[in-house]
């Protein structure tokens, strides 16, 4: 476990929800460069809300607290600004966008980041070679290149595509929202491989998941248990195993454990 990296994400006392309903109720989290965190919790605990709030999805209200990303106020940034500064969300339910080509979107996203950093646009041919290499890693076939964004993809293909985008865009903060759900065991291995390939001393990865099985394939430095909008317990991988054995009720029944 590396505790030496610079702080990439710091969440303090975050309260957030949708109109009429409080979902996150005082969440604290610190993630440093080089670390991988897993946030686990039962349905309705606020996992996806956390991922959505960090990526800037509209419709959420922040009522208290702060989120700092590389020393800046993340919540003050527009979603596209967060993306350009290196925040990437792998969606739980990636949308289909017929008529917009996969590679076109990926290239536009890649160039948006480069432009932000003052770098020239990537050469189309070089970019295609880069994508092809990553596709191989993700076990995706050529037909992907000519298809619309997630158009007609199976659930597993959509998740692979999310991780493919992530490996191409090389974010500073990678957020994965239930990327493991709906995957068969082979797809789970491939997706985990993609996530593992992203581990880097300069990068932080935060995975939100309901199931422990993803953690058979990736090795988070910290595991957090989220319940009722707060992190109730933090530990290492063995916490996930204990959760698997004893269920979430065990954590919720032991207040103040964090």
């Amino acid at each position: 476990m590396s505790n030496n990296g610079a702080t990439i994400l710091r969440i303090e006392n975050l309260h957030a929800g949708i109109p009429g309903r409080k979902i996150l109720k005082g969440l604290n989290l610190e993630v440093r460069a080089g670390e991988m965190h897993a946030i686990m919790g039962p349905n309705g605990s606020g996992k996806s809300t956390l991922a959505s709030v960090l990526a800037g999805r509209p419709g959420y209200e922040i009522t208290a607290g702060s989120v700092t990303y590389l020393g800046q106020d993340l919540l003050a940034m527009a979603p596209e600004e967060r993306a350009r500064q290196g925040v990437f969300l792998a969606f739980q339910y990636p949308v289909e966008i017929p008529g917009v080509n996969n590679v076109y979107l990926l290239k536009a996203a890649y160039n948006a980041r480069r432009k932000h950093r003052g770098e020239p646009e990537v050469d189309a041919f070089e970019f295609l070679e880069l994508v092809r290499g990553k596709m191989k890693l993700m076990g995706m076939n050529e037909s992907f290149l000519s298809r619309g964004v997630n158009e007609g993809f199976s659930g597993g293909e959509k998740k692979r595509n999310e991780v493919l985008q992530m490996t191409v865009l090389e974010p500073t903060l990678a957020l994965l929202d239930e990327t493991d759900s709906g995957l068969d065991i082979d797809a789970l291995k491939v997706v985990s491989q993609g996530v593992n390939s992203l581990r880097d001393p300069s990068r932080a990865i935060v995975m939100v998941t309901h199931y422990q099985r993803l953690l058979d394939h990736v090795q988070p430095d910290q595991v957090h248990v989220l319940a009722d909008g707060r992190i109730l317990r933090t530990g290492d991988r063995t916490l996930a195993l204990e959760l698997e054995r004893r269920g979430y009720d065990w954590v919720q029944a032991a207040p103040g454990a964090a």
């Binding site: 990636p94 949308v95 917009v100």
Partner: protein, 413 residues
């Protein structure tokens, strides 16, 4: 009534036509038809806002324009030279050569109250094109006609296409030009004999101030197949009224349509698909985009007649409103007079999908470009049916040209 500007416009037109008529082609059969149509037009007048099928049109804009007699238009024609079995003539020559036969072939404008523009086209018959493909002939290359209206004169245009039994043709028509002072009218008549197939790409790229009323009627006989890809992408006011008659057993029609209006522009598409024969099939899909103060209407009637048992029809209309001042009226209408038919229809009107939008933003795309990309994709869904690469490219440029951040969107092409 004495100060009615429309009546005044019609009277002026009648005078002009009277002077022109000795020189118009087609012999006595056609001069009689023109005369008859003009008398009816003067008596019945043009339709107006009170007519259900014309209510969404910007009549103030149309009434401001004159209805001068046909002044011709520049034609452009591209077709494989010397294809045996393919005949193409300027309409005047065709009327001189076989005016009697064509007069017998073309039905007179109907007696319904909304046929005023039919009558206007009929009364002005003279300019246009006639195309015939002989029975059994398959024309390999697309036939392309460019109808370029002169900037200073209206043109009332007629197009007649005849396909013999088993004939096949891909016809591409582009309608361009026009100006802000006049109202142009055109009428197209299509005859598809048994087992023939017509693929018809129609691109309206009229200049920004033009006003055009387009009318089309197709007679589709037994096992014949008519496919139209319709792009209403230009003009200040553009109205298309179409009637596709599926007359013979197993006749088929497909219509893929797209209209895009911005600024003050207006598009109005009215279609009637008439299932007359048994086991006829139709599929209609219309996408519409309105931004700025653009206004559009789609009125799609499907009639399934008493003899049309076993017929199958589907209609979808999807509309995108990009500004609070834009307006689209979509009105599907289904009239079924027989049992054992399969009909489905659906219409939606809304703004861009917020989940798709957020997905693009979360990938670093700026909001304006993201909206442009999604709008383009919505259009591309229909543009994708165009098989001719050059025409498709042209349509894509026209669509992209109306969207924000066109440079980035051009990359999609």
């Amino acid at each position: 009534m004495k100060s009615d500007p429309r009546q005044h416009a019609l009277n002026t037109l009648a005078e002009q036509l009277g002077q022109l008529s000795p020189g118009l082609p087609g012999g006595s059969a056609w001069s009689a038809r023109r005369h008859q149509a003009l008398q009816r037009l003067l008596a019945e007048g043009l339709p107006d806002k009170r007519n259900e099928n014309w209510r969404y049109l910007d009549w103030a804009e149309l009434d401001r324009r004159s209805l001068t007699a046909p002044a011709g238009l520049h034609g452009g024609l591209a077709h494989p030279p010397g294809t045996p079995g393919l005949e193409i003539l300027p309409l005047g020559e065709a009327l001189e050569r076989e005016g009697e036969r064509l007069a017998a072939l073309l039905p007179l404008p109907g007696s319904e109250s909304d046929t005023g523009f039919d009558l206007l086209a009929e009364a002005s018959t003279g300019t246009g094109w006639w195309v015939r493909v002989a029975a059994g002939v398959e024309v390999g290359e697309p036939l392309q006609i460019l109808h370029q209206r002169k900037p200073d004169a209206p043109s009332h245009l007629r197009v007649i296409i005849e396909l013999g039994a088993g004939a096949r043709l891909h016809l591409i028509e582009r309608f361009a030009g026009g100006d802000g002072e006049v109202l142009s009218v055109q009428a197209t008549s299509l005859f598809l004999a048994d087992g023939s197939a017509l693929q018809h790409t129609r691109l309206f790229e009229c200049s920004g101030e033009s006003a055009l009323v387009d009318q089309l009627e197709a007679s589709v006989e037994r096992d014949a197949r008519y496919r139209q890809a319709l792009f209403m992408l230009g003009g200040r006011v553009l109205r298309s009224s179409q009637r596709l008659r599926l007359r013979g057993r197993g006749a088929e029609a497909e219509l893929d349509g797209l209209f895009v209006v911005d600024g003050q522009r207006q598009a109005d598409l009215y279609t009637v698909i008439d299932h007359e024969g048994p086991q006829t099939r139709s599929r209609e899909r219309v996408h519409g985009v309105a931004s700025g103060r653009g206004r559009a209407a789609f009125n799609g009637r499907i009639l399934v007649g008493p003899a049309a048992a076993g017929s199958d029809s589907s209609q979808t209309s999807r509309n995108l409103l990009l500004s609070p001042t834009a307006e689209i009226n979509a009105r599907p209408q289904l009239e079924i007079l027989t049992d054992e038919v399969k009909c489905s229809h659906g219409a939606t009107t809304g703004s861009l999908d917020p989940d798709q939008l957020f997905y693009l933003l979360s990938r670093g795309i700026d909001p304006e470009t993201a909206r442009g990309i999604l709008t383009y994709a919505f259009c591309e869904d229909v543009v994708g049916v165009v098989t001719d690469p050059a025409v498709r490219r042209r349509i894509e440029e026209l669509v992209a040209g109306q969207l924000p951040d066109r440079d980035l969107i051009q990359e999609l092409l």
